[in-house]
Amino acid sequence: MPTALAAVTRAPLDSAALVSAVSGSPGSGAIVSFLGVVRNENLNRRVTHLEYEAYEPLAVRALDLILEEARDRWPAVVLGIHHRIGRLAIGESSVAIAAASPHRSEAFAACRYAIERVKQIVPIWKHEFFEGGDMWIEGATADPDDEAARQAALGRT
Protein backbone atom coordinates (compact mmCIF):
# COMPACT_ATOMS: atom_id res chain seq x y z
CA MET A 1 0.00 0.00 0.00
CA PRO A 2 1.46 3.44 -0.86
CA THR A 3 2.29 5.71 2.08
CA ALA A 4 -0.39 8.39 2.57
CA LEU A 5 0.90 11.96 2.54
CA ALA A 6 -1.26 12.92 5.54
CA ALA A 7 -1.67 10.48 8.40
CA VAL A 8 -2.35 10.17 12.13
CA THR A 9 -1.03 6.92 13.53
CA ARG A 10 -0.32 5.03 16.75
CA ALA A 11 2.63 3.27 15.14
CA PRO A 12 6.22 4.60 15.36
CA LEU A 13 6.85 7.10 12.56
CA ASP A 14 8.86 5.99 9.55
CA SER A 15 10.66 9.08 8.28
CA ALA A 16 12.35 7.17 5.44
CA ALA A 17 8.99 5.93 4.13
CA LEU A 18 7.62 9.48 4.19
CA VAL A 19 10.68 10.77 2.33
CA SER A 20 10.16 8.09 -0.35
CA ALA A 21 6.48 9.01 -0.56
CA VAL A 22 7.26 12.64 -1.47
CA SER A 23 10.28 12.00 -3.67
CA GLY A 24 8.83 10.28 -6.73
CA SER A 25 9.50 13.07 -9.21
CA PRO A 26 12.73 13.05 -11.25
CA GLY A 27 12.53 16.87 -11.09
CA SER A 28 13.18 16.88 -7.34
CA GLY A 29 16.43 18.58 -6.46
CA ALA A 30 15.93 18.93 -2.72
CA ILE A 31 14.20 16.98 0.02
CA VAL A 32 13.88 18.49 3.48
CA SER A 33 12.70 16.33 6.35
CA PHE A 34 11.79 17.27 9.89
CA LEU A 35 11.19 15.21 13.02
CA GLY A 36 9.58 16.56 16.18
CA VAL A 37 11.03 14.57 19.08
CA VAL A 38 9.90 14.12 22.69
CA ARG A 39 12.28 16.08 24.94
CA ASN A 40 13.11 15.26 28.57
CA GLU A 41 12.56 18.84 29.84
CA ASN A 42 9.88 21.49 29.46
CA LEU A 43 9.80 24.80 31.37
CA ASN A 44 12.10 23.34 34.03
CA ARG A 45 9.93 20.24 34.44
CA ARG A 46 11.62 16.86 34.09
CA VAL A 47 9.40 15.17 31.52
CA THR A 48 9.01 11.38 31.80
CA HIS A 49 6.77 10.77 28.77
CA LEU A 50 3.98 12.30 26.67
CA GLU A 51 0.55 11.12 25.62
CA TYR A 52 -0.95 12.58 22.46
CA GLU A 53 -4.71 12.53 21.93
CA ALA A 54 -6.42 13.38 18.62
CA TYR A 55 -9.85 13.94 17.18
CA GLU A 56 -8.69 11.66 14.40
CA PRO A 57 -11.05 12.33 11.48
CA LEU A 58 -10.71 16.10 11.90
CA ALA A 59 -6.95 15.83 12.48
CA VAL A 60 -6.51 14.05 9.14
CA ARG A 61 -8.67 16.69 7.44
CA ALA A 62 -6.61 19.47 9.03
CA LEU A 63 -3.39 17.81 7.78
CA ASP A 64 -4.94 17.60 4.29
CA LEU A 65 -5.82 21.29 4.53
CA ILE A 66 -2.18 22.13 5.34
CA LEU A 67 -1.03 20.13 2.31
CA GLU A 68 -3.53 22.08 0.20
CA GLU A 69 -2.38 25.46 1.60
CA ALA A 70 1.23 24.50 0.88
CA ARG A 71 0.34 23.40 -2.68
CA ASP A 72 -1.28 26.79 -3.31
CA ARG A 73 1.79 28.61 -2.05
CA TRP A 74 4.52 26.33 -3.43
CA PRO A 75 2.99 24.42 -6.36
CA ALA A 76 6.25 22.56 -7.13
CA VAL A 77 6.58 21.13 -3.60
CA VAL A 78 5.35 17.65 -2.65
CA LEU A 79 4.71 17.63 1.09
CA GLY A 80 3.90 14.86 3.55
CA ILE A 81 2.99 15.06 7.26
CA HIS A 82 2.58 12.15 9.68
CA HIS A 83 1.62 12.68 13.34
CA ARG A 84 1.89 10.01 15.95
CA ILE A 85 -0.56 9.72 18.87
CA GLY A 86 -0.69 7.63 22.05
CA ARG A 87 2.08 7.22 24.61
CA LEU A 88 5.53 8.36 23.53
CA ALA A 89 8.80 7.94 25.39
CA ILE A 90 11.63 10.48 25.51
CA GLY A 91 13.49 10.45 22.19
CA GLU A 92 10.58 9.13 20.14
CA SER A 93 9.26 11.14 17.18
CA SER A 94 5.81 12.68 17.44
CA VAL A 95 5.68 14.32 14.02
CA ALA A 96 7.45 13.66 10.73
CA ILE A 97 7.38 16.04 7.77
CA ALA A 98 9.02 15.71 4.36
CA ALA A 99 9.04 18.22 1.52
CA ALA A 100 10.46 17.60 -1.94
CA SER A 101 10.91 20.28 -4.59
CA PRO A 102 13.10 21.23 -7.55
CA HIS A 103 15.00 23.76 -5.39
CA ARG A 104 15.89 23.77 -1.68
CA SER A 105 14.40 27.13 -0.68
CA GLU A 106 10.81 26.03 -1.35
CA ALA A 107 11.39 22.68 0.36
CA PHE A 108 12.72 24.37 3.52
CA ALA A 109 9.90 26.92 3.47
CA ALA A 110 7.12 24.36 3.00
CA CYS A 111 8.55 22.14 5.73
CA ARG A 112 8.72 25.04 8.20
CA TYR A 113 5.24 26.23 7.25
CA ALA A 114 3.87 22.72 7.76
CA ILE A 115 5.13 22.33 11.34
CA GLU A 116 3.88 25.81 12.33
CA ARG A 117 0.41 25.04 10.89
CA VAL A 118 0.33 21.58 12.53
CA LYS A 119 0.73 23.28 15.87
CA GLN A 120 -1.95 25.85 15.07
CA ILE A 121 -4.84 23.93 13.53
CA VAL A 122 -4.50 20.17 13.96
CA PRO A 123 -6.70 18.89 16.82
CA ILE A 124 -4.01 16.89 18.60
CA TRP A 125 -3.33 17.53 22.29
CA LYS A 126 -0.22 16.85 24.29
CA HIS A 127 -0.56 15.48 27.82
CA GLU A 128 2.76 15.99 29.55
CA PHE A 129 3.81 13.68 32.37
CA PHE A 130 6.69 14.96 34.48
CA GLU A 131 8.31 14.29 37.84
CA GLY A 132 5.68 15.44 40.34
CA GLY A 133 2.62 15.66 38.11
CA ASP A 134 1.02 15.92 34.71
CA MET A 135 -0.71 18.60 32.65
CA TRP A 136 -2.39 19.20 29.31
CA ILE A 137 -0.39 21.62 27.17
CA GLU A 138 -2.71 24.26 25.73
CA GLY A 139 -1.62 26.99 23.34
CA ALA A 140 -3.82 28.70 20.79
CA THR A 141 -7.45 28.26 19.80
CA ALA A 142 -7.57 26.03 16.71
CA ASP A 143 -9.08 28.05 13.88
CA PRO A 144 -8.16 27.25 10.27
CA ASP A 145 -9.74 30.54 9.12
CA ASP A 146 -7.58 32.69 11.42
CA GLU A 147 -5.65 34.62 8.78
CA ALA A 148 -3.30 36.24 11.33
CA ALA A 149 -2.18 32.77 12.45
CA ARG A 150 -1.63 31.68 8.84
CA GLN A 151 0.41 34.80 8.16
CA ALA A 152 2.46 34.15 11.31
CA ALA A 153 3.23 30.66 10.01
CA LEU A 154 4.21 32.08 6.61
CA GLY A 155 6.36 34.66 8.34
CA ARG A 156 8.52 31.90 9.77
CA THR A 157 9.38 30.38 6.40
Binding site: R61, W136, E138, G139, A142, A148, A152
Partner: protein, 103 residues
Amino acid sequence: MQITVRLFARLRDIAGTGELVRDVPADATVRTVWDRLAREFSPLDAYTTSISAAVNAEYARLDARVSEGDEVAFLPPVSGGSPALLVARCSLLIARYMTDLTA
Protein backbone atom coordinates in the same frame (compact mmCIF):
# COMPACT_ATOMS: atom_id res chain seq x y z
CA MET B 1 -33.58 16.32 19.25
CA GLN B 2 -30.63 14.17 20.19
CA ILE B 3 -27.02 14.89 19.42
CA THR B 4 -23.70 13.35 20.41
CA VAL B 5 -21.11 15.55 22.12
CA ARG B 6 -17.41 14.70 21.86
CA LEU B 7 -14.89 16.18 24.29
CA PHE B 8 -11.12 15.99 24.18
CA ALA B 9 -8.08 16.43 26.40
CA ARG B 10 -8.77 18.61 29.47
CA LEU B 11 -12.44 19.03 28.51
CA ARG B 12 -12.81 15.24 28.58
CA ASP B 13 -11.11 15.13 31.99
CA ILE B 14 -13.49 17.76 33.38
CA ALA B 15 -16.63 15.99 32.15
CA GLY B 16 -15.28 12.57 33.09
CA THR B 17 -16.14 11.21 29.64
CA GLY B 18 -15.29 11.88 26.02
CA GLU B 19 -18.74 11.18 24.65
CA LEU B 20 -22.21 12.24 25.81
CA VAL B 21 -25.66 12.05 24.26
CA ARG B 22 -27.81 15.11 24.99
CA ASP B 23 -31.24 16.46 24.09
CA VAL B 24 -31.19 19.99 22.70
CA PRO B 25 -33.89 22.30 21.27
CA ALA B 26 -34.64 21.99 17.55
CA ASP B 27 -33.17 25.46 16.85
CA ALA B 28 -29.96 24.78 18.79
CA THR B 29 -26.61 26.11 17.62
CA VAL B 30 -23.16 24.86 18.60
CA ARG B 31 -23.13 27.65 21.19
CA THR B 32 -26.41 26.42 22.72
CA VAL B 33 -24.88 22.97 23.13
CA TRP B 34 -21.74 24.43 24.74
CA ASP B 35 -23.69 26.73 27.10
CA ARG B 36 -25.75 23.80 28.38
CA LEU B 37 -22.64 21.72 28.82
CA ALA B 38 -20.86 24.52 30.70
CA ARG B 39 -23.84 24.71 33.06
CA GLU B 40 -23.73 20.97 33.60
CA PHE B 41 -19.96 20.91 34.17
CA SER B 42 -19.13 24.38 35.49
CA PRO B 43 -15.29 24.18 35.18
CA LEU B 44 -15.85 24.04 31.40
CA ASP B 45 -16.94 27.67 31.54
CA ALA B 46 -13.29 28.75 31.78
CA TYR B 47 -12.90 27.50 28.19
CA THR B 48 -15.83 29.48 26.74
CA THR B 49 -13.54 32.03 25.04
CA SER B 50 -10.86 29.59 23.87
CA ILE B 51 -12.63 26.50 22.50
CA SER B 52 -13.13 25.69 18.89
CA ALA B 53 -15.83 23.36 17.63
CA ALA B 54 -16.55 20.84 14.93
CA VAL B 55 -19.79 19.38 13.62
CA ASN B 56 -19.53 15.90 12.10
CA ALA B 57 -15.73 16.19 12.05
CA GLU B 58 -15.62 19.52 10.17
CA TYR B 59 -14.57 22.75 11.86
CA ALA B 60 -17.70 24.80 12.62
CA ARG B 61 -18.48 28.27 13.96
CA LEU B 62 -20.25 28.59 17.31
CA ASP B 63 -23.31 30.06 15.59
CA ALA B 64 -23.70 27.06 13.25
CA ARG B 65 -27.03 25.21 13.60
CA VAL B 66 -26.96 21.59 14.70
CA SER B 67 -29.27 18.84 13.50
CA GLU B 68 -30.66 15.62 14.91
CA GLY B 69 -27.95 12.99 15.16
CA ASP B 70 -25.03 15.40 14.67
CA GLU B 71 -21.71 14.81 16.37
CA VAL B 72 -20.69 18.11 17.99
CA ALA B 73 -17.07 18.20 19.14
CA PHE B 74 -15.48 20.77 21.43
CA LEU B 75 -11.75 21.28 21.15
CA PRO B 76 -9.61 22.98 23.79
CA PRO B 77 -6.66 25.06 22.51
CA VAL B 78 -4.12 22.90 20.69
CA SER B 79 -0.61 22.48 21.96
CA GLY B 80 1.35 24.87 19.81
CA GLY B 81 0.38 28.49 20.17
CA SER B 82 2.73 30.47 18.00
CA PRO B 83 4.70 33.09 19.96
CA ALA B 84 3.39 35.77 17.57
CA LEU B 85 -0.16 34.90 18.54
CA LEU B 86 0.68 34.82 22.23
CA VAL B 87 2.14 38.31 21.87
CA ALA B 88 -1.05 39.41 20.09
CA ARG B 89 -3.15 37.95 22.89
CA CYS B 90 -1.02 39.57 25.60
CA SER B 91 -1.32 42.92 23.83
CA LEU B 92 -5.07 42.49 23.76
CA LEU B 93 -5.15 41.73 27.49
CA ILE B 94 -2.95 44.73 28.24
CA ALA B 95 -5.21 46.92 26.07
CA ARG B 96 -8.26 45.69 28.00
CA TYR B 97 -6.49 46.30 31.30
CA MET B 98 -5.59 49.84 30.23
CA THR B 99 -9.21 50.44 29.20
CA ASP B 100 -10.32 49.23 32.63
CA LEU B 101 -7.85 51.55 34.32
CA THR B 102 -9.01 54.57 32.37
CA ALA B 103 -12.72 53.67 32.51
